[in-house]
């Protein structure tokens, strides 16, 4: 058997291959992107894999495939599910024929997202079953399970990994024979048409099937109850009837029966943290946090199916417990369900978690946060200052510079924004941004993105601002992939309602932030019409010819002034912005500038410029205009220096140096 180190997302792709998936569609979004890329790379032929225009389109394409009896996997990040919410809400009503699985990746302590929303809640809202893996291995296995569930109950099913599962790697056997699922074909039936009458029937069907799925989940092997063997306590065993509690009159605390519930990756952290605390106790409390105190019993419930919630399993778990601590990331989904189950069954267990601030309320859980919260729960001394795991850095450490994310050296967006800033020097203007690398123009020294809320908002938010504040200039910035995903309707709205603003398309020929995926504007596809892996030269050439051209699209949508300029040509870029602004100033409605230059991820580096130490006066114009990570101040010198390891040869610094001190590679003074 071949063994490979696979990232969680690649393992999920493997799971889809095992399930015989027929159609795969999605829109790139960290941390979900690599699932679809891995399926395209491992396509044995016969699987249709596509980057769809956006998540709504992807889900509808996937639904269509499932209506026709195919197994369809639709991938997206959590905020992508917001875009797909319209079809999502209707799909459980009409149902599916072939399996329809949504892989929706959550991003706690957002590493690359605009919200900390919880897909488990979306699943509850849409009444769609959701599976919650704790490891990449489980995520892989859950794909087949989700397809079977989907077909058994004619419902879409969500699998929800989080960042640490998507981007965590483990070792997998990869010799998986691909057996395509047999596509049954579309059969006409009134239930495919979600008319109001049908919606009422559909709602009843959902309400009838959810308790049946819940029953199945109650016996799910991953929703397991474990009895923890704690040192110093009597051998743990399943206690069926409540024992009389020890008397408090002796002054000893009454031993408690405790439970811990964990969901998703928090279960993995729990296992780590608990074993560290058990080791600590076995060592006689060498770090001074004492030992487990006043515990009669400790048991763990893992919840791998947050919706529909396995009520009966939870009831069995909680029946004779005094206190329960819940570990989960994002929203207190499991915690609320446990409270509901307690209320319904008149159970007296005290539920502690996010709602009681006994666990981390926002951001990511870690083994360290669990250690601290567990030690308190288990009656030990607060480990926060005691365990070596939680020692804070020494105060003698030098103060470190902050290092926020920023444009890469050589990024064409640096040219687009610095030229726009130069063109509008001294003029009040608002810069509305969008989702993509270019949000980073917000960082110093560009300091330029003033708003950013969602995909497509870069073209629409400034329209509202312009109606509210017409005496200020408004510019909206949208990237090329975002332009096709969510920008088009905003352009139509601006033209139709005669908004006065400059639309800027930052065309770097790829979906950059998520790691360079193709889109309608590049033409390149993830698999060909006949299910090939899209590498055949003839097909790639045909794809390039089919690429949608952004200037043509803007013209067709009714914008007359459309300028295309290379953002690495600083002076030309300044002029292009000035001309577009003049159109708006003249009251001629919307104008557009397309800054077109490829992302450094999809083009080779160019020779790097050199600094003439005699000419450089350390005036800092390059530093303060561009904020390029490759430019720094040379130690013990009175000049700037260019880092050869980072510089990509964009030559913007050459163009803006007022002392002609930076020269193109090969140029003499």
């Amino acid at each position: 058997m071949a063994k490979e180190l696979l990232m969680g997302n690649q393992a999920i792709a493997l799971g889809a291959l095992k399930a015989g998936v027929n159609v795969v569609c999605g829109y790139p979004g960290t941390p979900s992107t690599e699932v679809l890329e891995a399926l395209a790379a491992r396509n044995p032929g016969g699987i249709h894999v596509e980057w769809s225009t956006n998540e709504k389109v992807a889900l509808e394409v996937g639904a269509g495939a499932a209506f026709s009896g195919a197994r369809a996997l639709v991938t997206m990040k959590q905020v992508g599910l917001n875009v797909a919410a319209d079809p999502l809400m209707s799909l459980p009503y009409v149902g599916v024929s072939g399996g329809l699985v949504l892989l929706v990746a959550d991003d706690p302590a957002p590493m690359s997202s605009q919200t900390e929303q919880d897909t488990r809640q979306f699943a509850q809202f849409a009444k769609i079953p959701v599976l919650d893996p704790a490891t990449p291995e489980e995520a892989c296995a859950m794909i087949s399970e989700a397809f079977e569930l989907s077909e058994r109950y004619r419902t879409p099913v969500i699998v929800r990994p989080s960042t640490r599962i998507c981007h965590g790697s483990a070792v997998f056997e990869t010799d998986i024979p691909y057996q395509p699922h047999q596509v049954g074909g579309f059969e006409r039936s009134p239930h495919w048409i979600v008319l109001p009458r049908r919606a009422f029937e559909g709602h009843k069907e959902i309400i009838e099937r959810l308790p049946i799925i819940e029953q199945e989940f109650c016996d799910h092997p991953l929703n397991a109850i474990e009895y923890v063997d704690l040192p110093g306590l009597a051998k743990a065993s399943k206690i069926t009837s409540k024992q009389p509690l020890a008397s408090a009159s002796s002054g000893q605390p009454i031993p408690r029966r405790l439970g811990i519930v964990a969901s998703g990756i928090s279960y993995a952290y729990l296992k780590d943290a608990l074993s560290m605390l058990i080791d600590e106790t076995k060592s006689g409390g060498k770090h001074g946090i004492g030992t487990f105190a006043a515990i009669e019993e400790l048991r763990i419930l893992r919840i791998a199916t947050p919706f529909p919630f396995p009520d009966q399993r939870a009831t069995e778990f909680m029946a004779d417990l005094d206190e329960i601590l819940v570990f989960e990331e994002l929203e207190p989904v499991v915690e609320r369900e446990l409270l509901r189950v307690c209320g319904r069954n008149h159970l007296s267990a005290a539920i502690k978690g996010k709602l009681t601030k006994d666990t981390t309320v926002a951001g990511e859980n870690t083994v360290n946060s669990l250690l601290q919260q567990l030690s308190v729960f288990l009656g030990m001394e607060d480990s926060a200052q005691k365990l070596p795991a939680t020692i804070s850095p020494e105060s003698t450490a030098p103060e470190l510079p902050t290092r926020p994310p920023m444009f890469c050296a050589g990024c064409p967006h640096r040219g687009s924004f610095s030229a726009t800033k130069r063109a509008l020097k001294g003029r009040p203007a608002v810069f509305s941004g969008d989702i993509g690398c270019y949000t980073l123009a917000n960082a110093q020294p560009l300091d330029m993105i003033d708003t950013c809320i969602c995909m497509g908002g870069g073209f629409t938010v400034p329209q509202g601002m312009a109606w509210a504040q017409p005496d200020v200039l408004h510019l909206g910035f949208v990237g090329d992939s975002t332009f096709f995903a969510s920008g088009l309707t905003g352009v139509v709205n601006a033209v139709y309602n005669r908004a006065n603003l400059v639309l800027v398309v930052l065309d770097n020929s790829t979906t950059a932030m998520t790691g360079a995926q193709p889109h309608a504007g590049t033409g390149e596809r993830m698999s060909g019409t006949d299910g090939y892996s899209a590498t055949a030269k003839a097909d790639m050439e045909r794809d390039a010819q089919n690429a949608l051209r952004i200037p043509d699209v803007l013209h067709a949508l009714g914008i007359e002034h459309v300028d295309i300029v290379d953002p690495l040509d600083f002076d030309a870029s300044v002029e292009a912005i000035k001309k577009a602004v003049a159109v708006v100033d003249a009251g001629n409605g919307v104008s557009a500038v397309i800054f077109r230059s490829p992302c450094i991820a999809v083009c080779p580096p160019k020779p790097i410029p050199w600094v003439d130490p005699e000419a450089c006066t350390l005036c800092r114009v390059c530093v303060n205009t561009l904020g390029c990570p490759a430019i720094s101040i040379a130690p013990q010198a009175k000049t700037i220096q260019i880092d050869a390891g980072l510089c990509y040869g964009c030559d913007l610094c050459v163009q803006i140096c007022p002392f002609n001190a930076i020269h193109k590679a090969g140029d003499s003074k």
Binding site: G168, A268, C437
Partner: protein, 209 residues
């Protein structure tokens, strides 16, 4: 179990470094988990990579490894791709663990803009003081710039640091164990270059002090 934390700046090749360690350990039959920083934070920001592996004998004893993240104060080895990031991640190191650090500083734009010169010297001095007090068991400082110049590529720092890390013994395998990983994970035309950097990094450990 061996726990490794890799600290650097997005774009320095930290993701490939943790992949190579994981691959080399896997080749040996170990059970491996890793966690990476991928996405927006990767763009020039501070990035952390976690690699954890259980040896075959530990697996035989029924040991489990579920979490991909190295808890604080549990790393046997910290690889710092530049001095400030090594200091920032130092609380991951177990008392007496090994630190391999590249001496070349990557000045953040925030420092350059604030007219602060940042050359990493204060951070290296701090690491040395921690080695003196035995908080750091072994400190290996690698002149990555010199190795990159010798190899003629600025992009082999990651592999050079792996060479030094392997030589320190903290990984439980030698630098040679990385050869197969490099062959499997790196484009063919860069393989020889990276193997050279690996050897130079390994030698940098031997020559230390």
């Amino acid at each position: 179990m061996i726990n490794v934390v890799i600290a650097g700046v997005g774009g320095q090749g930290t993701v490939l470094a943790s992949k190579l360690i994981a691959y080399a350990a896997m080749e040996r039959g170990d059970f491996v988990r890793t966690a990476e920083t991928i996405g927006m934070a990767q763009r020039g920001g501070s990035v952390l990579g976690h690699v954890r592996f259980l040896t075959t004998s530990e697996l035989g004893q029924g040991k489990e490894l579920l979490s991909p993240l190295v808890p604080k104060a549990q790393a046997d080895l910290l690889i710092g791709f530049e001095p400030g990031e090594a200091v920032r991640a130092l609380d991951f190191l177990r008392p007496g663990g090994v630190v391999v650090v590249a001496t070349g500083a990557v000045a953040p734009v925030t420092a350059t803009l604030a007219k602060k010169s940042y050359d990493g010297q204060a951070e290296l001095a701090y690491l040395q003081s921690q080695a003196t007090s035995k908080r750091i068991g072994e400190l290996v400082m690698v002149d990555g710039q010199n190795i990159c110049e010798t190899c003629g590529s600025p992009r082999v720092l990651n592999v050079a640091l792996l060479g030094a890390a392997a030589s320190s013994g903290a990984l439980g395998f030698s630098a040679d164990q990385f050869d197969k990983a490099i062959e499997a994970q790196i484009k063919e035309r860069f393989i020889a270059l990276n193997k050279q950097a690996l050897r130079l990094g390994a030698a940098a450990f031997t020559l230390k002090i």
